[in-house]
Protein backbone atom coordinates (compact mmCIF):
# COMPACT_ATOMS: atom_id res chain seq x y z
CA UNK A 1 0.00 0.00 0.00
CA UNK A 2 1.88 3.11 -1.21
CA UNK A 3 1.38 6.56 0.30
CA UNK A 4 -0.80 7.65 -2.68
CA UNK A 5 -3.02 4.55 -2.37
CA UNK A 6 -3.56 5.22 1.31
CA UNK A 7 -4.49 8.82 0.55
CA UNK A 8 -7.02 7.59 -2.03
CA UNK A 9 -8.56 5.13 0.38
CA UNK A 10 -8.94 7.75 3.11
CA UNK A 11 -10.49 10.20 0.69
CA UNK A 12 -12.99 7.60 -0.43
CA UNK A 13 -14.11 6.94 3.11
CA UNK A 14 -14.36 10.66 3.91
CA UNK A 15 -16.45 11.20 0.78
CA UNK A 16 -18.89 8.46 1.77
CA UNK A 17 -19.18 9.91 5.28
CA UNK A 18 -19.87 13.37 3.94
CA UNK A 19 -22.52 11.95 1.61
CA UNK A 20 -24.13 10.18 4.54
CA UNK A 21 -24.02 13.40 6.58
CA UNK A 22 -25.77 15.37 3.84
CA UNK A 23 -28.30 12.60 3.49
CA UNK A 24 -29.04 12.68 7.23
CA UNK A 25 -29.19 16.48 7.42
CA UNK A 26 -31.82 16.55 4.71
CA UNK A 27 -34.33 15.00 7.12
CA UNK A 28 -34.32 18.00 9.48
CA UNK A 29 -37.69 19.63 8.75
CA UNK A 30 -37.78 23.33 7.72
CA UNK A 31 -34.15 24.03 8.58
CA UNK A 32 -33.28 27.58 7.36
CA UNK A 33 -29.64 26.64 6.88
CA UNK A 34 -30.41 23.52 4.81
CA UNK A 35 -29.35 25.01 1.47
CA UNK A 36 -26.01 26.60 2.45
CA UNK A 37 -25.01 23.54 4.49
CA UNK A 38 -25.84 21.07 1.71
CA UNK A 39 -24.02 23.20 -0.87
CA UNK A 40 -21.08 23.64 1.48
CA UNK A 41 -20.69 19.89 1.96
CA UNK A 42 -21.04 19.34 -1.81
CA UNK A 43 -18.28 21.93 -2.31
CA UNK A 44 -16.02 20.11 0.16
CA UNK A 45 -16.64 16.76 -1.57
CA UNK A 46 -15.92 18.30 -4.98
CA UNK A 47 -12.67 19.85 -3.73
CA UNK A 48 -11.66 16.45 -2.29
CA UNK A 49 -12.28 14.62 -5.57
CA UNK A 50 -10.47 17.28 -7.62
CA UNK A 51 -7.53 17.55 -5.21
CA UNK A 52 -6.89 13.87 -4.52
CA UNK A 53 -8.44 11.74 -7.25
CA UNK A 54 -7.57 14.18 -10.05
CA UNK A 55 -4.17 15.01 -8.51
CA UNK A 56 -4.95 18.70 -8.96
CA UNK A 57 -2.43 19.75 -6.29
CA UNK A 58 0.63 18.29 -7.97
CA UNK A 59 -0.46 19.17 -11.51
CA UNK A 60 1.51 22.02 -13.12
CA UNK A 61 0.40 25.64 -12.73
CA UNK A 62 -1.08 26.34 -16.17
CA UNK A 63 -3.57 23.43 -16.27
CA UNK A 64 -4.76 24.39 -12.79
CA UNK A 65 -5.16 28.00 -13.91
CA UNK A 66 -7.27 26.95 -16.91
CA UNK A 67 -9.59 24.90 -14.73
CA UNK A 68 -9.97 27.57 -12.05
CA UNK A 69 -10.70 30.29 -14.65
CA UNK A 70 -13.48 28.13 -16.13
CA UNK A 71 -15.01 27.73 -12.64
CA UNK A 72 -14.76 31.49 -12.14
CA UNK A 73 -16.57 32.23 -15.43
CA UNK A 74 -19.31 29.69 -14.66
CA UNK A 75 -19.78 31.46 -11.31
CA UNK A 76 -19.95 34.89 -13.00
CA UNK A 77 -22.59 33.69 -15.48
CA UNK A 78 -24.65 32.15 -12.65
CA UNK A 79 -24.37 35.17 -10.37
CA UNK A 80 -25.26 37.87 -12.89
CA UNK A 81 -28.17 35.84 -14.33
CA UNK A 82 -29.56 35.21 -10.84
CA UNK A 83 -29.07 38.85 -9.79
CA UNK A 84 -31.03 39.85 -12.88
CA UNK A 85 -33.96 37.61 -11.93
CA UNK A 86 -33.93 38.76 -8.28
CA UNK A 87 -33.73 42.51 -8.87
CA UNK A 88 -36.40 42.84 -11.55
CA UNK A 89 -38.75 45.56 -10.37
CA UNK A 90 -42.26 44.15 -10.05
CA UNK A 91 -44.62 46.70 -11.74
CA UNK A 92 -47.57 48.08 -9.80
CA UNK A 93 -50.56 45.72 -9.85
CA UNK A 94 -53.29 46.75 -12.33
CA UNK A 95 -55.83 49.11 -10.68
CA UNK A 96 -59.32 47.73 -10.18
Amino acid sequence: MTREARRVWITWIVLLLLAGLTFALSFIPSDPFATPVALGIAMVKAVLVVAVFMEFLDARATPRLAFVVSLLLAAILTTLATVDVLTRRVPALPPG
Binding site: A66, V69, D84
Partner: protein, 540 residues
Protein backbone atom coordinates in the same frame (compact mmCIF):
# COMPACT_ATOMS: atom_id res chain seq x y z
CA UNK B 1 4.19 53.63 -54.73
CA UNK B 2 7.58 51.97 -54.31
CA UNK B 3 7.40 48.19 -54.40
CA UNK B 4 9.72 46.40 -52.02
CA UNK B 5 11.70 43.85 -54.04
CA UNK B 6 14.49 42.35 -51.99
CA UNK B 7 16.25 40.29 -54.65
CA UNK B 8 17.00 37.03 -52.92
CA UNK B 9 17.95 34.00 -55.03
CA UNK B 10 15.57 31.15 -54.46
CA UNK B 11 17.07 29.37 -51.48
CA UNK B 12 16.24 25.90 -52.80
CA UNK B 13 14.35 24.29 -55.68
CA UNK B 14 10.59 24.74 -55.21
CA UNK B 15 10.16 21.01 -55.46
CA UNK B 16 10.05 19.97 -51.81
CA UNK B 17 7.65 22.52 -50.24
CA UNK B 18 4.71 21.39 -48.09
CA UNK B 19 2.46 21.95 -51.14
CA UNK B 20 4.27 19.33 -53.24
CA UNK B 21 5.41 16.76 -50.65
CA UNK B 22 3.62 14.31 -50.11
CA UNK B 23 1.89 14.28 -53.52
CA UNK B 24 -1.69 13.31 -54.39
CA UNK B 25 -5.16 14.44 -53.40
CA UNK B 26 -5.53 11.63 -50.87
CA UNK B 27 -2.59 12.98 -48.88
CA UNK B 28 -4.50 16.26 -48.47
CA UNK B 29 -7.50 14.36 -47.08
CA UNK B 30 -5.56 12.66 -44.30
CA UNK B 31 -2.90 15.30 -43.67
CA UNK B 32 -1.95 16.25 -40.13
CA UNK B 33 0.46 18.96 -41.38
CA UNK B 34 -0.69 22.23 -39.77
CA UNK B 35 0.19 24.16 -42.94
CA UNK B 36 -2.05 22.05 -45.16
CA UNK B 37 -4.82 22.18 -42.59
CA UNK B 38 -4.43 25.96 -42.59
CA UNK B 39 -4.75 26.09 -46.39
CA UNK B 40 -7.80 23.77 -46.31
CA UNK B 41 -9.47 26.06 -43.77
CA UNK B 42 -8.53 29.09 -45.88
CA UNK B 43 -10.34 27.78 -48.95
CA UNK B 44 -13.30 26.42 -46.93
CA UNK B 45 -13.85 29.72 -45.09
CA UNK B 46 -13.41 31.69 -48.33
CA UNK B 47 -16.18 29.60 -49.91
CA UNK B 48 -18.34 30.38 -46.87
CA UNK B 49 -17.58 34.11 -47.35
CA UNK B 50 -18.78 33.90 -50.96
CA UNK B 51 -21.98 32.08 -49.96
CA UNK B 52 -22.68 34.52 -47.11
CA UNK B 53 -21.95 37.39 -49.48
CA UNK B 54 -24.50 36.10 -51.98
CA UNK B 55 -27.18 36.25 -49.29
CA UNK B 56 -26.01 39.75 -48.36
CA UNK B 57 -26.46 40.94 -51.94
CA UNK B 58 -29.93 39.32 -52.06
CA UNK B 59 -30.87 41.16 -48.87
CA UNK B 60 -29.70 44.49 -50.18
CA UNK B 61 -31.45 43.90 -53.52
CA UNK B 62 -34.73 43.15 -51.71
CA UNK B 63 -34.47 46.40 -49.74
CA UNK B 64 -34.22 48.55 -52.85
CA UNK B 65 -37.93 49.30 -52.66
CA UNK B 66 -40.43 49.23 -49.77
CA UNK B 67 -42.66 46.14 -50.01
CA UNK B 68 -41.83 43.27 -52.33
CA UNK B 69 -38.88 43.76 -54.67
CA UNK B 70 -37.64 40.25 -55.48
CA UNK B 71 -38.89 37.91 -52.69
CA UNK B 72 -41.65 37.63 -50.07
CA UNK B 73 -41.25 38.30 -46.33
CA UNK B 74 -40.65 34.65 -45.40
CA UNK B 75 -37.81 34.24 -47.90
CA UNK B 76 -36.30 37.56 -46.75
CA UNK B 77 -36.31 36.38 -43.12
CA UNK B 78 -34.58 33.19 -44.24
CA UNK B 79 -31.97 35.14 -46.22
CA UNK B 80 -30.83 37.28 -43.29
CA UNK B 81 -30.81 34.27 -40.97
CA UNK B 82 -28.60 32.28 -43.33
CA UNK B 83 -26.45 35.37 -44.03
CA UNK B 84 -25.91 35.69 -40.28
CA UNK B 85 -25.29 32.01 -39.53
CA UNK B 86 -22.96 31.39 -42.50
CA UNK B 87 -21.00 34.58 -42.04
CA UNK B 88 -20.58 34.30 -38.23
CA UNK B 89 -19.90 30.60 -37.71
CA UNK B 90 -18.66 29.38 -41.08
CA UNK B 91 -16.45 32.38 -41.91
CA UNK B 92 -15.81 35.00 -39.19
CA UNK B 93 -15.01 32.68 -36.25
CA UNK B 94 -12.67 30.25 -38.09
CA UNK B 95 -11.31 32.59 -40.78
CA UNK B 96 -8.15 34.03 -39.21
CA UNK B 97 -7.52 31.60 -36.30
CA UNK B 98 -8.10 28.33 -38.17
CA UNK B 99 -6.60 29.40 -41.49
CA UNK B 100 -3.69 31.73 -40.66
CA UNK B 101 -3.44 30.59 -37.03
CA UNK B 102 -2.98 26.96 -38.07
CA UNK B 103 -0.45 27.89 -40.74
CA UNK B 104 1.65 30.40 -38.83
CA UNK B 105 1.50 29.55 -35.11
CA UNK B 106 4.00 26.62 -35.19
CA UNK B 107 6.31 28.47 -37.59
CA UNK B 108 6.27 31.65 -35.51
CA UNK B 109 6.97 29.59 -32.37
CA UNK B 110 9.73 27.64 -34.06
CA UNK B 111 7.89 24.32 -33.62
CA UNK B 112 7.56 21.46 -36.12
CA UNK B 113 3.77 21.19 -35.70
CA UNK B 114 0.91 21.92 -33.28
CA UNK B 115 0.75 19.96 -30.00
CA UNK B 116 -1.93 17.49 -31.14
CA UNK B 117 -1.74 17.01 -34.94
CA UNK B 118 -4.39 14.29 -35.02
CA UNK B 119 -6.79 16.52 -33.02
CA UNK B 120 -6.06 19.22 -35.60
CA UNK B 121 -7.06 16.88 -38.43
CA UNK B 122 -10.20 15.91 -36.50
CA UNK B 123 -11.13 19.61 -36.20
CA UNK B 124 -11.16 19.81 -40.02
CA UNK B 125 -13.49 16.82 -40.29
CA UNK B 126 -15.78 18.17 -37.52
CA UNK B 127 -15.85 21.59 -39.23
CA UNK B 128 -16.83 19.86 -42.48
CA UNK B 129 -19.53 17.83 -40.69
CA UNK B 130 -20.93 20.97 -39.03
CA UNK B 131 -20.90 22.83 -42.34
CA UNK B 132 -22.74 19.96 -44.07
CA UNK B 133 -25.41 19.91 -41.33
CA UNK B 134 -25.88 23.70 -41.54
CA UNK B 135 -26.09 23.52 -45.36
CA UNK B 136 -28.60 20.67 -45.09
CA UNK B 137 -30.66 23.08 -42.97
CA UNK B 138 -30.21 25.59 -45.80
CA UNK B 139 -31.47 23.06 -48.36
CA UNK B 140 -34.47 22.27 -46.13
CA UNK B 141 -35.46 25.91 -46.43
CA UNK B 142 -33.36 27.54 -43.74
CA UNK B 143 -34.58 29.05 -40.47
CA UNK B 144 -36.26 32.45 -40.24
CA UNK B 145 -35.31 33.35 -36.65
CA UNK B 146 -32.18 35.42 -37.27
CA UNK B 147 -28.76 34.11 -36.23
CA UNK B 148 -29.79 34.75 -32.60
CA UNK B 149 -32.57 32.04 -32.52
CA UNK B 150 -34.51 33.91 -29.80
CA UNK B 151 -37.19 31.73 -28.16
CA UNK B 152 -40.17 31.55 -27.99
CA UNK B 153 -40.28 32.29 -31.74
CA UNK B 154 -37.43 29.82 -32.47
CA UNK B 155 -39.54 27.15 -30.77
CA UNK B 156 -42.72 27.98 -32.67
CA UNK B 157 -41.60 28.47 -36.27
CA UNK B 158 -41.82 25.32 -38.44
CA UNK B 159 -38.77 26.38 -40.47
CA UNK B 160 -35.69 24.15 -40.11
CA UNK B 161 -34.25 25.64 -36.87
CA UNK B 162 -33.09 22.29 -35.43
CA UNK B 163 -30.63 21.27 -38.20
CA UNK B 164 -28.97 24.70 -38.28
CA UNK B 165 -28.74 24.88 -34.47
CA UNK B 166 -27.19 21.40 -34.32
CA UNK B 167 -24.86 22.24 -37.21
CA UNK B 168 -23.57 25.25 -35.31
CA UNK B 169 -23.22 23.06 -32.18
CA UNK B 170 -20.92 20.74 -34.18
CA UNK B 171 -18.98 23.74 -35.54
CA UNK B 172 -18.53 24.78 -31.90
CA UNK B 173 -16.88 21.45 -31.15
CA UNK B 174 -14.42 22.05 -33.99
CA UNK B 175 -13.64 25.51 -32.57
CA UNK B 176 -12.96 24.05 -29.09
CA UNK B 177 -10.60 21.48 -30.60
CA UNK B 178 -8.60 24.18 -32.38
CA UNK B 179 -8.58 26.29 -29.21
CA UNK B 180 -7.16 23.45 -27.06
CA UNK B 181 -4.51 22.78 -29.71
CA UNK B 182 -3.32 26.39 -29.89
CA UNK B 183 -3.27 26.95 -26.11
CA UNK B 184 -1.16 23.86 -25.47
CA UNK B 185 1.11 24.59 -28.44
CA UNK B 186 1.81 28.13 -27.23
CA UNK B 187 2.63 26.87 -23.75
CA UNK B 188 4.74 23.81 -24.53
CA UNK B 189 6.25 24.06 -28.04
CA UNK B 190 8.02 27.43 -28.04
CA UNK B 191 11.51 27.29 -29.54
CA UNK B 192 14.56 27.56 -27.33
CA UNK B 193 15.16 31.15 -26.25
CA UNK B 194 11.62 32.37 -26.97
CA UNK B 195 10.25 33.77 -23.73
CA UNK B 196 6.67 34.96 -23.44
CA UNK B 197 7.68 38.55 -24.18
CA UNK B 198 9.55 37.56 -27.35
CA UNK B 199 6.59 35.93 -29.04
CA UNK B 200 5.21 37.71 -32.14
CA UNK B 201 2.05 39.67 -31.32
CA UNK B 202 0.03 37.54 -33.73
CA UNK B 203 0.76 34.52 -31.48
CA UNK B 204 -0.45 36.47 -28.46
CA UNK B 205 -3.77 37.28 -30.12
CA UNK B 206 -4.29 33.69 -31.34
CA UNK B 207 -3.54 32.49 -27.78
CA UNK B 208 -6.03 34.95 -26.25
CA UNK B 209 -8.63 34.06 -28.92
CA UNK B 210 -8.22 30.37 -28.11
CA UNK B 211 -8.88 31.05 -24.42
CA UNK B 212 -12.13 32.81 -25.33
CA UNK B 213 -13.11 30.07 -27.81
CA UNK B 214 -12.43 27.40 -25.22
CA UNK B 215 -14.48 28.99 -22.44
CA UNK B 216 -17.33 30.68 -24.36
CA UNK B 217 -18.27 28.10 -27.02
CA UNK B 218 -19.65 25.50 -24.57
CA UNK B 219 -22.29 27.96 -23.36
CA UNK B 220 -23.35 28.58 -26.98
CA UNK B 221 -23.47 24.82 -27.51
CA UNK B 222 -25.83 24.48 -24.56
CA UNK B 223 -28.02 27.40 -25.67
CA UNK B 224 -28.41 26.05 -29.22
CA UNK B 225 -28.93 22.50 -27.96
CA UNK B 226 -31.85 23.79 -25.84
CA UNK B 227 -33.25 25.65 -28.87
CA UNK B 228 -33.04 22.52 -31.03
CA UNK B 229 -34.71 20.38 -28.30
CA UNK B 230 -37.40 23.02 -27.80
CA UNK B 231 -38.04 23.21 -31.55
CA UNK B 232 -38.07 19.45 -32.15
CA UNK B 233 -39.78 18.07 -29.00
CA UNK B 234 -41.36 21.22 -27.45
CA UNK B 235 -39.09 20.55 -24.45
CA UNK B 236 -39.33 24.24 -23.55
CA UNK B 237 -36.98 25.52 -20.83
CA UNK B 238 -37.52 29.03 -22.20
CA UNK B 239 -41.14 28.57 -23.29
CA UNK B 240 -43.34 31.08 -21.40
CA UNK B 241 -46.41 28.86 -21.69
CA UNK B 242 -44.51 26.37 -19.48
CA UNK B 243 -43.25 29.11 -17.19
CA UNK B 244 -39.85 29.52 -18.80
CA UNK B 245 -38.16 32.93 -19.09
CA UNK B 246 -36.90 33.83 -22.62
CA UNK B 247 -34.51 36.43 -21.14
CA UNK B 248 -32.45 33.64 -19.56
CA UNK B 249 -31.80 32.30 -23.06
CA UNK B 250 -30.52 35.74 -23.98
CA UNK B 251 -28.15 35.60 -20.98
CA UNK B 252 -26.72 32.27 -22.20
CA UNK B 253 -26.60 33.32 -25.86
CA UNK B 254 -24.91 36.68 -25.28
CA UNK B 255 -22.55 35.21 -22.65
CA UNK B 256 -21.09 33.47 -25.73
CA UNK B 257 -21.84 35.99 -28.44
CA UNK B 258 -20.08 39.01 -26.93
CA UNK B 259 -16.83 37.14 -26.34
CA UNK B 260 -17.45 35.76 -29.87
CA UNK B 261 -17.10 39.25 -31.34
CA UNK B 262 -13.71 39.37 -29.57
CA UNK B 263 -12.90 35.95 -31.08
CA UNK B 264 -13.47 37.66 -34.42
CA UNK B 265 -11.55 40.89 -33.79
CA UNK B 266 -8.53 39.73 -31.74
CA UNK B 267 -6.88 37.72 -34.54
CA UNK B 268 -7.52 40.69 -36.83
CA UNK B 269 -5.67 42.87 -34.28
CA UNK B 270 -2.81 40.36 -34.36
CA UNK B 271 -2.57 40.63 -38.13
CA UNK B 272 -2.61 44.43 -37.88
CA UNK B 273 0.22 44.41 -35.33
CA UNK B 274 2.33 42.24 -37.63
CA UNK B 275 1.56 44.24 -40.77
CA UNK B 276 2.18 47.65 -39.17
CA UNK B 277 5.58 46.59 -37.80
CA UNK B 278 6.71 45.05 -41.09
CA UNK B 279 5.60 47.83 -43.46
CA UNK B 280 6.74 50.61 -41.14
CA UNK B 281 9.94 48.62 -40.44
CA UNK B 282 9.65 49.58 -36.79
CA UNK B 283 9.25 48.02 -33.37
CA UNK B 284 5.69 48.25 -31.98
CA UNK B 285 5.11 51.53 -30.11
CA UNK B 286 4.63 49.47 -26.92
CA UNK B 287 4.81 45.67 -27.03
CA UNK B 288 3.61 45.32 -23.40
CA UNK B 289 0.63 47.65 -23.96
CA UNK B 290 -0.62 45.48 -26.83
CA UNK B 291 -0.11 42.28 -24.83
CA UNK B 292 -1.87 43.70 -21.74
CA UNK B 293 -4.71 45.00 -23.94
CA UNK B 294 -5.03 41.59 -25.68
CA UNK B 295 -5.33 39.71 -22.38
CA UNK B 296 -7.58 42.47 -21.01
CA UNK B 297 -9.99 42.07 -23.91
CA UNK B 298 -9.93 38.28 -23.48
CA UNK B 299 -10.95 38.37 -19.80
CA UNK B 300 -13.00 41.56 -19.41
CA UNK B 301 -14.81 40.57 -22.63
CA UNK B 302 -16.56 37.86 -20.61
CA UNK B 303 -18.20 40.37 -18.27
CA UNK B 304 -19.97 42.69 -20.68
CA UNK B 305 -22.60 40.56 -22.43
CA UNK B 306 -25.53 42.34 -20.81
CA UNK B 307 -25.29 45.44 -23.02
CA UNK B 308 -27.14 43.46 -25.71
CA UNK B 309 -30.14 43.23 -23.37
CA UNK B 310 -30.61 46.79 -22.08
CA UNK B 311 -34.19 46.95 -23.40
CA UNK B 312 -34.94 43.22 -23.16
CA UNK B 313 -36.53 43.50 -19.73
CA UNK B 314 -33.37 42.95 -17.67
CA UNK B 315 -33.35 44.55 -14.21
CA UNK B 316 -32.09 48.15 -14.01
CA UNK B 317 -29.31 47.13 -11.62
CA UNK B 318 -27.88 44.69 -14.18
CA UNK B 319 -28.12 47.35 -16.88
CA UNK B 320 -25.95 49.59 -14.71
CA UNK B 321 -23.40 46.87 -13.98
CA UNK B 322 -23.07 45.76 -17.61
CA UNK B 323 -22.96 49.33 -18.86
CA UNK B 324 -20.00 50.20 -16.65
CA UNK B 325 -18.12 46.95 -17.43
CA UNK B 326 -18.59 47.55 -21.16
CA UNK B 327 -16.75 50.85 -20.79
CA UNK B 328 -13.70 49.03 -19.36
CA UNK B 329 -13.38 46.68 -22.32
CA UNK B 330 -13.58 49.64 -24.73
CA UNK B 331 -10.37 51.23 -23.42
CA UNK B 332 -8.31 48.14 -24.36
CA UNK B 333 -9.31 48.46 -28.02
CA UNK B 334 -8.67 52.20 -27.87
CA UNK B 335 -5.18 51.63 -26.45
CA UNK B 336 -4.37 49.29 -29.33
CA UNK B 337 -5.48 51.78 -31.97
CA UNK B 338 -3.33 54.49 -30.34
CA UNK B 339 -0.36 52.09 -30.18
CA UNK B 340 -0.66 51.15 -33.86
CA UNK B 341 -0.73 54.77 -34.94
CA UNK B 342 2.20 55.35 -32.58
CA UNK B 343 4.10 52.55 -34.30
CA UNK B 344 3.94 54.48 -37.58
CA UNK B 345 5.74 57.41 -35.92
CA UNK B 346 9.35 57.68 -37.16
CA UNK B 347 8.95 54.46 -39.14
CA UNK B 348 9.93 53.76 -42.78
CA UNK B 349 6.49 53.31 -44.30
CA UNK B 350 5.95 51.60 -47.69
CA UNK B 351 2.35 51.75 -48.89
CA UNK B 352 1.84 48.19 -50.11
CA UNK B 353 -1.59 46.56 -50.30
CA UNK B 354 -1.43 45.11 -46.74
CA UNK B 355 -0.66 48.58 -45.34
CA UNK B 356 -3.50 50.15 -47.36
CA UNK B 357 -5.83 47.57 -45.81
CA UNK B 358 -4.27 48.47 -42.46
CA UNK B 359 -5.17 52.15 -42.86
CA UNK B 360 -8.68 51.05 -43.81
CA UNK B 361 -8.78 48.87 -40.69
CA UNK B 362 -7.67 51.72 -38.43
CA UNK B 363 -10.33 54.09 -39.79
CA UNK B 364 -13.23 51.61 -39.99
CA UNK B 365 -12.48 49.78 -36.74
CA UNK B 366 -12.03 53.18 -35.08
CA UNK B 367 -15.48 54.35 -36.15
CA UNK B 368 -16.99 50.93 -35.36
CA UNK B 369 -15.41 50.89 -31.91
CA UNK B 370 -16.54 54.41 -31.08
CA UNK B 371 -20.11 53.67 -32.19
CA UNK B 372 -19.84 50.68 -29.87
CA UNK B 373 -18.95 52.89 -26.90
CA UNK B 374 -21.87 55.18 -27.78
CA UNK B 375 -24.17 52.12 -27.93
CA UNK B 376 -22.98 51.04 -24.49
CA UNK B 377 -24.36 54.14 -22.77
CA UNK B 378 -27.79 52.83 -21.70
CA UNK B 379 -30.06 55.76 -22.68
CA UNK B 380 -28.73 55.94 -26.26
CA UNK B 381 -29.08 52.17 -26.59
CA UNK B 382 -32.80 52.49 -25.80
CA UNK B 383 -33.16 54.45 -29.06
CA UNK B 384 -30.64 52.52 -31.14
CA UNK B 385 -31.18 48.93 -30.04
CA UNK B 386 -32.25 46.61 -32.91
CA UNK B 387 -32.20 49.44 -35.44
CA UNK B 388 -29.89 49.84 -38.44
CA UNK B 389 -27.47 51.80 -36.24
CA UNK B 390 -26.56 48.50 -34.56
CA UNK B 391 -26.33 46.79 -37.98
CA UNK B 392 -23.93 49.50 -39.15
CA UNK B 393 -21.92 49.28 -35.89
CA UNK B 394 -21.24 45.58 -36.05
CA UNK B 395 -20.60 45.59 -39.80
CA UNK B 396 -18.07 48.40 -39.28
CA UNK B 397 -16.31 46.24 -36.70
CA UNK B 398 -16.75 42.85 -38.45
CA UNK B 399 -16.43 43.77 -42.12
CA UNK B 400 -14.40 46.96 -41.62
CA UNK B 401 -12.30 45.29 -38.94
CA UNK B 402 -11.99 41.54 -39.36
CA UNK B 403 -12.52 41.17 -43.13
CA UNK B 404 -10.17 44.09 -43.89
CA UNK B 405 -7.53 42.51 -41.63
CA UNK B 406 -8.25 39.12 -43.23
CA UNK B 407 -7.54 40.66 -46.64
CA UNK B 408 -4.39 42.28 -45.25
CA UNK B 409 -3.27 38.88 -43.88
CA UNK B 410 -4.08 37.22 -47.20
CA UNK B 411 -1.87 39.70 -49.07
CA UNK B 412 0.88 39.83 -46.43
CA UNK B 413 1.40 36.07 -46.10
CA UNK B 414 0.45 35.17 -49.67
CA UNK B 415 4.16 34.93 -50.74
CA UNK B 416 4.95 32.79 -47.70
CA UNK B 417 1.98 30.42 -48.08
CA UNK B 418 2.03 29.97 -51.85
CA UNK B 419 5.48 31.17 -52.89
CA UNK B 420 4.00 33.69 -55.34
CA UNK B 421 3.53 37.47 -55.51
CA UNK B 422 0.13 39.12 -56.12
CA UNK B 423 -0.03 41.98 -58.69
CA UNK B 424 0.69 45.22 -56.74
CA UNK B 425 -1.25 47.74 -58.81
CA UNK B 426 -4.47 45.74 -59.13
CA UNK B 427 -4.29 45.04 -55.38
CA UNK B 428 -4.15 48.78 -54.62
CA UNK B 429 -7.21 49.29 -56.82
CA UNK B 430 -8.90 46.42 -54.98
CA UNK B 431 -8.32 48.07 -51.61
CA UNK B 432 -9.81 51.34 -52.87
CA UNK B 433 -12.90 49.61 -54.31
CA UNK B 434 -13.47 47.63 -51.12
CA UNK B 435 -13.10 50.81 -49.03
CA UNK B 436 -15.48 52.88 -51.17
CA UNK B 437 -17.99 50.04 -51.42
CA UNK B 438 -17.89 49.55 -47.66
CA UNK B 439 -18.49 53.21 -46.87
CA UNK B 440 -21.28 53.39 -49.47
CA UNK B 441 -23.00 50.40 -47.89
CA UNK B 442 -22.78 51.10 -44.18
CA UNK B 443 -22.58 54.86 -43.62
CA UNK B 444 -26.20 55.25 -44.84
CA UNK B 445 -27.16 52.53 -42.38
CA UNK B 446 -25.92 54.67 -39.46
CA UNK B 447 -28.33 57.37 -40.60
CA UNK B 448 -31.13 54.85 -41.16
CA UNK B 449 -30.63 53.70 -37.58
CA UNK B 450 -30.81 57.26 -36.26
CA UNK B 451 -34.02 57.74 -38.23
CA UNK B 452 -35.48 54.76 -36.40
CA UNK B 453 -35.48 52.13 -39.16
CA UNK B 454 -35.73 48.79 -37.29
CA UNK B 455 -33.48 45.88 -38.09
CA UNK B 456 -34.62 42.77 -40.00
CA UNK B 457 -37.39 44.75 -41.73
CA UNK B 458 -38.50 43.41 -45.14
CA UNK B 459 -40.88 46.35 -45.67
CA UNK B 460 -40.34 49.97 -44.56
CA UNK B 461 -41.98 53.41 -44.85
CA UNK B 462 -41.05 55.16 -48.14
CA UNK B 463 -39.03 57.98 -46.47
CA UNK B 464 -36.17 55.52 -45.83
CA UNK B 465 -35.91 54.40 -49.45
CA UNK B 466 -33.28 56.90 -50.59
CA UNK B 467 -30.75 55.69 -47.98
CA UNK B 468 -31.55 52.06 -48.79
CA UNK B 469 -30.89 52.58 -52.49
CA UNK B 470 -27.54 54.24 -51.62
CA UNK B 471 -26.68 51.34 -49.33
CA UNK B 472 -27.57 48.75 -51.96
CA UNK B 473 -25.41 50.43 -54.58
CA UNK B 474 -22.59 50.51 -52.05
CA UNK B 475 -23.02 46.78 -51.52
CA UNK B 476 -22.54 46.19 -55.26
CA UNK B 477 -19.25 48.09 -55.18
CA UNK B 478 -18.13 46.14 -52.08
CA UNK B 479 -19.11 42.85 -53.76
CA UNK B 480 -17.23 43.93 -56.89
CA UNK B 481 -14.12 44.82 -54.90
CA UNK B 482 -14.07 41.43 -53.16
CA UNK B 483 -14.66 39.66 -56.46
CA UNK B 484 -11.74 41.53 -58.06
CA UNK B 485 -9.52 40.55 -55.11
CA UNK B 486 -10.56 36.90 -55.46
CA UNK B 487 -9.84 36.92 -59.20
CA UNK B 488 -6.32 38.33 -59.07
CA UNK B 489 -5.35 36.26 -56.03
CA UNK B 490 -6.47 32.98 -57.64
CA UNK B 491 -4.68 34.02 -60.82
CA UNK B 492 -1.54 34.81 -58.82
CA UNK B 493 -1.64 31.30 -57.30
CA UNK B 494 -0.24 29.96 -60.54
CA UNK B 495 0.83 33.00 -62.55
CA UNK B 496 2.32 35.25 -59.87
CA UNK B 497 6.03 36.10 -59.76
CA UNK B 498 8.00 33.65 -57.61
CA UNK B 499 8.56 35.04 -54.11
CA UNK B 500 11.82 34.88 -52.20
CA UNK B 501 12.23 33.88 -48.59
CA UNK B 502 11.64 37.40 -47.22
CA UNK B 503 9.98 39.66 -49.87
CA UNK B 504 8.92 42.33 -47.36
CA UNK B 505 12.23 42.44 -45.46
CA UNK B 506 10.41 41.55 -42.23
CA UNK B 507 12.23 40.56 -39.01
CA UNK B 508 9.41 38.29 -37.85
CA UNK B 509 10.33 34.61 -37.44
CA UNK B 510 7.99 33.13 -40.06
CA UNK B 511 10.07 34.89 -42.73
CA UNK B 512 13.22 32.90 -41.83
CA UNK B 513 11.93 29.70 -43.48
CA UNK B 514 11.81 29.38 -47.27
CA UNK B 515 8.49 30.20 -48.91
CA UNK B 516 6.53 28.05 -49.32
CA UNK B 517 8.04 26.32 -46.26
CA UNK B 518 9.23 22.68 -46.33
CA UNK B 519 7.17 19.99 -44.73
CA UNK B 520 8.81 20.26 -41.28
CA UNK B 521 8.95 24.06 -41.32
CA UNK B 522 12.68 24.49 -40.82
CA UNK B 523 15.77 23.03 -42.42
CA UNK B 524 17.39 23.16 -38.96
CA UNK B 525 15.83 23.71 -35.49
CA UNK B 526 15.77 27.55 -34.93
CA UNK B 527 17.21 29.14 -31.81
CA UNK B 528 15.65 32.52 -31.03
CA UNK B 529 18.27 35.12 -30.19
CA UNK B 530 16.35 38.34 -30.89
CA UNK B 531 12.88 39.85 -30.60
CA UNK B 532 10.51 39.60 -33.56
CA UNK B 533 10.56 43.36 -34.34
CA UNK B 534 14.12 44.67 -34.01
CA UNK B 535 14.47 46.95 -37.04
CA UNK B 536 16.37 49.47 -34.93
CA UNK B 537 19.62 51.14 -35.89
CA UNK B 538 22.53 49.83 -33.80
CA UNK B 539 22.88 53.06 -31.84
CA UNK B 540 19.09 53.10 -31.15
Amino acid sequence: MSTVEVVVPLSRPAGDSYLEVPRGFRSWLVTTDHKRIGVIFLFATSAALVLGGVFALLLRAELLTPGRTIVGPLAYNRFFTLHGVIMVWLFMIPSIPSAFGNFLLPIMLGAKDVAFPRLNRASVYVYAAGAVIVLSGLVLGGADTGWTFYPPYSGRTPTSVAPIALGVFVLGISTIMTAINFIVTTHTLRAEGMGWMRMPLFVWTIYATSIIQLLATPVLGMALLLVALDHAFRLGVFDPTVGGDPILYQHLFWFYSHPAVYIMILPAMGVVSEVVCTFARKNPFSYTAIVVATLGIAFVGFLTWGHHMFVAGMSELDVGIFGALSMFVAIFSAIKVFTWVGTLYRGSISLDAPLLYLYEFLFLFGVGGMSGVALASPSLDVHWHDTYFVVAHFHFVMVGGTITAWLAALHYWFPKMFGRHYPQRVAALGTLLVFMGFLGTFVPQFLLGNAGMPRRYYDYPPEYQALHVLSTMGSWALGGGLLLTAVYLVAALRGGRRAGTNPWGSRSFEWDTPSPPPQHNFTEQPVIARGPYDYAREEG
